[in-house]
Symmetry: C2
Subunit: 908 residues, 2 copies
Amino acid sequence: MNNEKRVYTFGNGKAEGSADMRNLLGGKGANLAEMNLIGVPVPPGFTITTEVCNEYFEKGKERVVELLKSDVEKALANVETLMNSKFGDIDNPLLVSVRSGARASMPGMMDTILNLGLNDKVVEGLIRKTNNPRFVWDSYRRFVQMYGDVVLGMKPTDKAAIDPFEAIIEKVKEEKGVKLDTELEVEDLQKLVTLFKQAVKNQTGKDFPEDAYDQLWGAICAVFDSWMNERAILYRKMEGIPAEWGTAVNVQAMVFGNMGNTSATGVCFSRDAATGEDIFNGEYLINAQGEDVVAGIRTPQQITKEGSLRWAKLADVSEEERASKYPSMEEAMPEIYKELDELQTKLENHYRDMQDMEFTVQEGKLWFLQTRNGKRTGAAMVKIAMDMLHQGMITEQEAVLRVEPNKLDELLHPIFDKAALKKAVVLTKGLAASPGAACGKIVFNAEDAAIWADRGEKVVMVRIETSPEDLAGMAVAQGILTARGGMTSHAAVVARGMGKCCVSGAGALVIDYANKTLKVAGHTLKEGDFISINGSTGEVYLGAVATKDAELDADFTELMNLADKYSRLKVRTNADTPHDAETARKFGAVGIGLCRTEHMFFEGEKIKAMREMILAETLEGRRAALRKILPYQQADFKGIFKAMEGCPVTVRLLDPPLHEFVPHEEKEQRELAEIMGVTFDYIRNRVNSLHEANPMLGHRGCRLGNTYPEITEMQTKAILGAALDLKKEGVVAIPEIMVPLTGILYEFANQEKIIRETAEKLFAERNDRIDFKVGTMIEIPRAALTANRIASKAEFFSFGTNDLTQMTFGYSRDDIASFLPAYLDMKILKNDPFQVLDRNGVGQLVQMATEKGRSVRPDLKCGICGEHGGEPSSVEFCHIVGLDYVSCSPFRVPIARLAAAQAAIRNK
Amino acid sequence: MNNEKRVYTFGNGKAEGSADMRNLLGGKGANLAEMNLIGVPVPPGFTITTEVCNEYFEKGKERVVELLKSDVEKALANVETLMNSKFGDIDNPLLVSVRSGARASMPGMMDTILNLGLNDKVVEGLIRKTNNPRFVWDSYRRFVQMYGDVVLGMKPTDKAAIDPFEAIIEKVKEEKGVKLDTELEVEDLQKLVTLFKQAVKNQTGKDFPEDAYDQLWGAICAVFDSWMNERAILYRKMEGIPAEWGTAVNVQAMVFGNMGNTSATGVCFSRDAATGEDIFNGEYLINAQGEDVVAGIRTPQQITKEGSLRWAKLADVSEEERASKYPSMEEAMPEIYKELDELQTKLENHYRDMQDMEFTVQEGKLWFLQTRNGKRTGAAMVKIAMDMLHQGMITEQEAVLRVEPNKLDELLHPIFDKAALKKAVVLTKGLAASPGAACGKIVFNAEDAAIWADRGEKVVMVRIETSPEDLAGMAVAQGILTARGGMTSHAAVVARGMGKCCVSGAGALVIDYANKTLKVAGHTLKEGDFISINGSTGEVYLGAVATKDAELDADFTELMNLADKYSRLKVRTNADTPHDAETARKFGAVGIGLCRTEHMFFEGEKIKAMREMILAETLEGRRAALRKILPYQQADFKGIFKAMEGCPVTVRLLDPPLHEFVPHEEKEQRELAEIMGVTFDYIRNRVNSLHEANPMLGHRGCRLGNTYPEITEMQTKAILGAALDLKKEGVVAIPEIMVPLTGILYEFANQEKIIRETAEKLFAERNDRIDFKVGTMIEIPRAALTANRIASKAEFFSFGTNDLTQMTFGYSRDDIASFLPAYLDMKILKNDPFQVLDRNGVGQLVQMATEKGRSVRPDLKCGICGEHGGEPSSVEFCHIVGLDYVSCSPFRVPIARLAAAQAAIRNK
């Protein structure tokens, strides 16, 4: 114990604590004290310190109760005075809440007890006072249940088992023949209390405590005990919160908004949470409880008159009806409203952020129950941050920190028209694989997609799952909908790369390719029927739901500029086409961190030549096919270099296993045999011989370039040839050639040698030269472990954290669906490591490789090009370990820019 | 330059250098000096120091030749005096050899030139002297070719291109209509010399040097240059040899054994290289060159009379014929023989090891050309080491170091009878997957194997490739032969585990399961036909070749006891059956490091229950099936614990992906559907849903135990139940329960909790308890990286270096055949990392995990249970990083024991 003082009181504008005593009073306790200090009326109460929690586990329950007794009684007397009522008094009872409150937020981990102080006699007094027997009996039965579960240990430890109180409620409802709790009447509630108490007696062998102080001590000890319950321990372990921090206990007077027409309850926001506009707004109900505002049984009324008028217009309510039945608080309770408005302004100014507040008016007296920074949409987030900056409320750095990077996503993609959405029929829900809204006619394959799109139709491509052969179709579709595949399935990854809306893994879809139909939720849809999908929620709608394009406003631009001012990490993009490169540049990318060459091979003639190359019997056969591919590749690179003029472009050499390129259907194999002038059997056998048990760990990456060096030669020629062509046109290309899947120094060294030799040959032929770098992906654990060796030859590292995660964890992205959801449920994993970079394992390798690499080559350029490059927490990690850049799909560039700025500000 | 002296002479029992000047004179130079010093006659010569090599690259060719000139001339004059001939002299020419010789052995990396000093005139003098024009012209043409290639740069740098001299030889042979070089006559050889010199002139524009000194300087500089050739640089890089070490140059007089009947040449061994017996032996030929002894054109004669008599008996040669036509050297040249015998004893005593020597007698004078430690069989290795120990020649530690651990393999497995093998017809050659010899009747599947074996027939199981379903067949077969699969295929790994002979990947086999035939090399073999396979060489023989069992003699036992005396690492075994456990104990294993439970599931009723478990729809269905499996498992464990009484047994919980257990053929699926009372469609769909894109990275290991905790519960009950049963019988079982494939602390912690809870429940039921440990495999890179976290819960680590290698390199063992051979060829990899532990990458993880683990749990027991546990260099690494034990297949236990001792002695 650092402090002899165990109990801190607050109330009536006074408090023994304050906001900066968070460690001692917990977050909630410090905040309650603070609100008092700035003159916001909150129900009075007191906080028992976190140090008492440690004392509790040291000295035991009895001793601590003894130590606390007089302090708690004194503090409670203070509350009684302020509330003009008495704890345990029959006629004028004071009820209290008992809540935990640790230094760090641990949502849902510990227990809360409300309405404490009720017993069979107090109930009667309270009914007299509130004139609302149903409310009082409902409060009572809730209290007995809550207290029974939390304090008396009635709640079963086995999650699957049924709470004994719930079982009683079910039984009573059944007897009465009703379904909802709200259908129970006063007598039923009374009966429940009796049955509850019997259950307590039966199970614990003791009577339910009637004495208010007995109840209070029981609750206080239960809150301390909950600090050591299993889920709290697990949570602390996951979050790295030390057990010694302890929890405080907050005891606070209950107030009621349902004590007649001078009472009310409501919620309000200091600004508009949807648009961010600087307008005070909210809803309230007279003579009601907090629950009633959100329950939807009564129509809540607006706080401000302006809001009320707007509401009436939208709800088609006449001014007469509005003014009489739904007056605003501003009109109905002008005095209270004035106080509320002043206080909301005070709170916003104090906390310097948009506030989401709950209040209760008990018999003409306004109480704030809670204030917190309000949740808001992405658009509101940007607007509020910029407005507050302009209003001088926050600094530039604070403004940058105010916007959650992921929320920007909402601003970048098309969205559904809100009105249209309300009427839409939801067919099913899949995974929100790639954000945005799309609406179009159903097509079932890439060819049809191309045909319909050529006709000028908007299409949504519906597939069981996608493969590289579907790329052309995905490119022309408005969106992609698949029945199978997770967040990292082919469809999802490619769609995100394209910034195209995608819903994946909608398992309820029954797709029939042969008949071109789609069955779902009793509907049978045909090719050409309209469908709409929401890639931000995973919802699938029947018919056409109108969409509208995203607009990037001045606030957004200002925010992005601010971000760049503070960030150290550069943001590049992963782009395989000139179009993607242009999009990314528009979003602020300063280079390409990953240009995959394999996507270029899937169109028309290219795939044919590629297949010839793969299936050729001889080196000469391969060379001949590669000669056909060279001009296509060179043209592709020229387009991309041009779109990224003056910025570095990292081109990765051929990476995927060759069997991804060859046809697996007999028909196509026969066609190919004819084209190549070989037998069908030959093709079939060659294709079969390319089959691998674990293709992810097979013959791919630079294992291809080392066994077929002619591929590396061709690609080098195409890359540097394109750059030389552009040089003639006065366009500056900055190529960086990247070797994939390096695991061994010599593997890289051999590729580097081929690249440099090919380059010198080409430069001699063309009588011109160009600067370029040769580096490697670091995506094999061994490459990270031996990075000092590899950096002796490689000029840059690009962390391929997708593969690195696969191999570090031993997870195949295609196969994790069978256990990942369970792992997340069981908290074995905090996040999907393919979405959020695993700092302890994968991150350790990234850091190790960066340090080892720079130990031999101090100017080694290091970046990341996995999916993590656009995920804010991963971007922060990249900043911390000192990478030079992150690279992500075009539509995540703004997110990465903001995350990079936040990382820089937070880790200064 | 540390030394002003650049040239060190040797000859006639004197030398300026000695054996301890290896760094300055290189290995060869120091050894030549040493032989002189101990009185062994070697052709005189001199060594140019390694420091001159550095000087050469610093100051350049001309300057170094200038600096060396007088020293070399002086040294050469000394040689002329000793050899009584003159360099470049026409009548009495001295010829010399010029050889490289670095500090470390770099076999084949640098160049050698023989017969230097020949020219058109000297040739004539030498013919007069030797009276052997063919030999002289052949020497001359060889010299021109060697000198042209090495010194004049005629050898093409492109390996694929043809050597211009070889092209000329081919042309001359073609014109003459002969096929072999030996068919060329004197005139042809003369013609070759002329044509060779023309080629040199054409290509280099210069005449071939006729002057002997010009030749000498050219050769010396070429040897220095070869230190910087590409393959030497690559070799040094791979071996970590610094370029500054440099190479020395050795110039030595040539001597000739074909100068008449007082000349001879031969090779001899100080002990028997096949059996290890302490008997001097060897072969020689009078008036011959070294090549003739090995070329097989003339029948070589024995050195000793005893050897000659033995030879005659074996070769069926009468004593008369022997004595007249094939007398021993002891009889034919008694004086020389006496000298030779004395010198061989001297050399063996000096080098304290069995010597393999080359000698030449030139006109009655004996010269030693070379001595080195002789290669020998495994049996000889053991016998010589023990004999020399008993003879007081070497210490115990030296004796332990004298035996190559891998060579012990030869002693442990059945071998073919040598005489029988000579007559055997080789059908084809596959991979030497698991050593030993096997002979039996062909069967094509496990069922047939069981049927034939039950009848008492010996069978060899022939499969295209094996799967777990073949286990029962493999167990009863003498050996396994497969058409597909590498050194780490299922067949190979399982066979090595069983200590059973296996030849895998014999691609020439055409196997027809339907007709039960096997076609190879023009033969069609049917079921029941005899076949023989050699798992130590990969050879496959037609018919029955007699085999004999290995016998372990007293020398072997003594060696093993010595090994245990000096080793620190314990050796356990990987064993899944009581039989394997007993075998391993016999070989000295002190525990089981890996008991895989999955192999137990493949027999009869067990596989049925297992399949029911996997395909059950509900938890209850799985539990019901597991209840059937429990008694089988418990019985299995009881057998194993009993066989390993008093020793720890590490049992790994279920590891492989579930689809390995389910039937993939329609017939079996239908049967199973009937047994389970479900539809065939249901079974087919469930089996299909278990399919994984990359099963190695899929739903396996503790991912199973965490998603199906009931499996872990059942296995824990079976393990501890078996141990409790045995306790009652007075048998001490020491179970260690091992969680496979841990990657995350919580993954392990959850399993550990289930195990401990199940154990406590069982102990309560049985009213008895037993000590046991709970630990984990470390086989996922992330587990190694976060080992400090995992060790907070795990009581032991067992490194599964098979999987750890797969994931650290990103290699699937099933798929590496497409690039691994190329990688080994290209020296991208020095070894197959699945055979020899990769110290830089995988080893780094092993070391890191051990250190991190022990940082939080100092007494953490660490072992290795991958295939590497029985590979000597990997065992040494395990010793170095401080592991507690290695675990390997039973037949590798002696190898591991010896390797462990050597590691301890070498790394003291």
